[in-house]
Symmetry: D2
Subunit: 284 residues, 4 copies
């Protein structure tokens, strides 16, 4: 994906958008590798993702915006473009459950996730070993009811210093403040260990056990101010039975969480997610 530019567009739905976008790209010598679109008929909104092969494309990060502006203006587009390189910078924030972090690091080291990971942050020291093995700087920022705002400030400072583009909460058991979230709009990916909107909040496996459900799930979503209510990126579920204890649910859930979070991270890296009206359009 490194030599692929990704152009993301949202605009009012009308005729001729695809023709205009594809025409513009062709005009500048670009090879359109992929072009997904979606129309939200409820809100009359049009979404598009165009993947353009960079070799041969006559525009660059420096020249694109001015060439593109007339098209964007004509269709009143909300748009962004990502150039594939440099790759995104991702921070991982965890508490004491490390299976998601471990999994992300493994995928990253084996080349499956094409990102930089300049920082791992935790409110506990447990992840230090994993971070060291992976050669990623680790910062422990303990949190308590007393120091919460200060701790968040410190974490935000670390994220800023590491110049991260987005943040993955790989089982971070703290609720972020609105101010924190506002700094990374649609750029904080959380994994919630339930099939949202069922079992939002704390101890979802215990809740699932108490309710006696026959499947459990996991949900990755962008974090918004409303707890566990942000735009859902990916979900998955597996069967359970009366034989499963809470511990069994936790164990089964770990596999779900790893897979669902990795899928969301991968989609985010490839710029395949657009957000609108608290929902995602996922061009996979």
């Amino acid at each position: 994906m490194r030599n692929t530019a990704r152009l993301l567009i949202a605009c009012p739905d009308t005729r001729g958008i695809v023709a205009a976008v594809a025409g513009f790209i062709a005009e500048h010598g670009g090879n359109l590798l992929d072009a997904d679109q979606h129309t939200d008929k409820d809100h009359g909104e049009f979404f598009m993702r165009a993947a353009i092969e960079r070799p041969g494309f006559g525009l660059t990060p420096d020249t694109f915006a001015s060439a593109w502006e007339p098209v964007a203006r004509r269709f009143r587009m909300d748009w962004r473009i990502f150039w594939g390189e440099p790759v995104k910078r991702m921070a991982v924030v965890v508490s004491r459950q490390l299976h998601c972090l471990s999994d992300l690091l493994w995928r990253w080291r084996s080349g499956e996730l094409d990102v930089d990971i300049p920082l791992i942050v935790s409110n506990h020291p447990d992840a230090a070993g994993l971070a060291r093995d992976a050669g990623v700087p680790f910062e422990c920022c303990p949190v308590s009811p007393q120091n919460k705002p200060a701790q968040e400030g410190r974490v935000l400072g670390l994220l800023a210093d590491a110049k991260v583009d987005y943040v993955v909460l790989a089982r971070y058991m703290q609720i972020l403040s609105g101010d924190f979230i506002a700094r990374y709009p649609n750029a904080i990916i959380n994994i919630h260990h339930s099939f949202l909107p069922a079992f939002a909040g704390g101890s979802p496996y215990q809740q699932a056990y108490d309710r006696g459900v026959k499947m459990i799930g996991a949900t990755s979503h962008y974090v918004t101010e409303r707890l566990d209510a942000g735009p859902i990126i990916a979900q998955e579920a597996v069967p359970t039975s009366h034989r499963d204890t809470v511990e069994d649910l936790i164990r089964k859930g770990r596999d779900l969480e790893r897979i669902v979070l990795a899928r969301a991270v991968r989609l985010h890296i490839d710029d395949k997610i657009l957000v609108s009206q608290n929902k995602t359009v996922v061009f996979d």
Copy 2:
């Protein structure tokens, strides 16, 4: 299953229960085809289902209880036995969505569900044709805010006259009163068109669409007084995407509902479900 007796047991957990049950059956010449058990450690409760081949078994519906009583008393068992024949009598209650009814009737006519269906009831006339094609008596009992108690009384009368053992709500869009439910404890099977506890109540597909979930589900459960909160028997889920309209969710959901409801009915027919603490133990 017709020549198989099913003995269902719930009692305080202790040593020697399986030995006592299996010993009793062997003593009376019974061949134990299947013996599932489960211990709920939270509540110290033991559950067992024993399937006994009737040919060769020295006990009958007339003689079983008195022979069995000493064992039952010793372990303070709550128990029931089903003899396979005559088969259960099932009523189906529907509103205007007929895919679940149609599916149940198909499975019944093709021999997949070994029950009698002496009655189909609806608050609308739409199901009359399906009932007639299947040769099942159909009763239309229209309901309105005004006549609700009277209508329920009429339905209960029809169920009693038809001597049904249990009731399947195959998309009946009415809330039953506590009195109605109390007449068929753990014997009213509902299909709810969501992955409960998510999207309880009305219009779950619309709710799912509005929330932007990436999977939808269906849930069959026994009906209790608390709406959509009874013991869950079976659940299933399928992926969805931003491309799915509410109509697409409804269409995908129909396939889920049919399969999940049929599974629950089948388990109920085979006496594979025990209920305790608002959860099911499903010996499948």
Copy 3:
């Protein structure tokens, strides 16, 4: 979908195809509802499906070809267009297992499948009742080793008389001749009751049972001369266990077969399938 024209394109991969297609449509006042494309890099082949809203589109079945020809010629396109109306004409061919036929008829009658079904053919009389209930002409064409070519000729005659566009083998347990298949290229949809390529040929559930697999599947595919080896349209699988007898696998498989076949039929109706190199591109 009735007022939607679907343009299917396959051509050598090069730059500017999407721009040319979308430009052409925009030029003629067409609203592009959907435009999926795919590049098969192994063979340098490009595939596209464009869905065009008919209201407002300046071209008609009579005028499209001549206007479109220059674009098609420029990119050496293999193309077809479907206008949504009149709807496709589908024949269903069965033997004695009727669950797939019954399911297709139900979906059709409830409006889920927007087709005409002018003919049901079987080598056995069993489906006559279902056909009659649905108001579809039924023809019984018994087959024996002796009359096989003559029987195929008769079936082909019935299909021709009924002017069907495609044929669904909804569990037809006969092998069609090459001549028969050649009359409906990529227009005969079969359901095979296994997870192909595992268990091709006869008695796949018995084969699955004998092998002791832990999942069974179903596969819908276009029929080609090589038995059970045509382009796969859809597949699905469900878990099994050592407890499942062959009869259990057959029962579980029925649900799979119905769903997988219905999915394939639906994709075919909506012109969402392109075939190349014995594989399908499914724009879903």
Copy 4:
């Protein structure tokens, strides 16, 4: 599971087996935690797994056999008992693909797999780092067409020295000789990266890609002399599409392989698998 004894039984099917087994356990003060059974009607064979709480059970590894012998003889039982402690000793054998090894080690270190891992063997040096991080002895035994028997001898020697109870082939891309396999009957677990019996042999993802399947799978099985044809323990499958390259299938498959192999290992550790007639009975 450490203070749980697991008694595995296979014998000709007859009446009274469960009563005799449960009676024997009760007689010796044992608490029967779980008792699964299965009858293979095709071969008239009965299988049972009894899990007995060790505290309170009057028999020990030293005294069990002589007390039990009369029961075993009466029913002509093939039986084994595992006492939970000491835990099993597992060797992992790999080639260059390390995702399964990494996953097993992670599960082991996090306490999910209650085994000892005294040895990792590979025909390549790549796994040395992972082994070292996990504190497990690693041996590199390169293999070539010339040294194959000698290499196998060396590996067998290492396994013997490490006193392993069973061997996990976590993507070992070599075919073992019949002599090797005979040393560990039903004690070598392989992960094959396809939905067996489809795509046995080499390059299954390439085969799946070439065939154009719409799902891929993974299969864990015990290794027997017939390549990829041993008793299947677990299988799982996920959807694919025409968009998936071979590399995408490999990536998706990695997640499947990890989960399916871990499930098989877990079942093996808990003595939940019986093998008969080249099939498994899995008491899960």
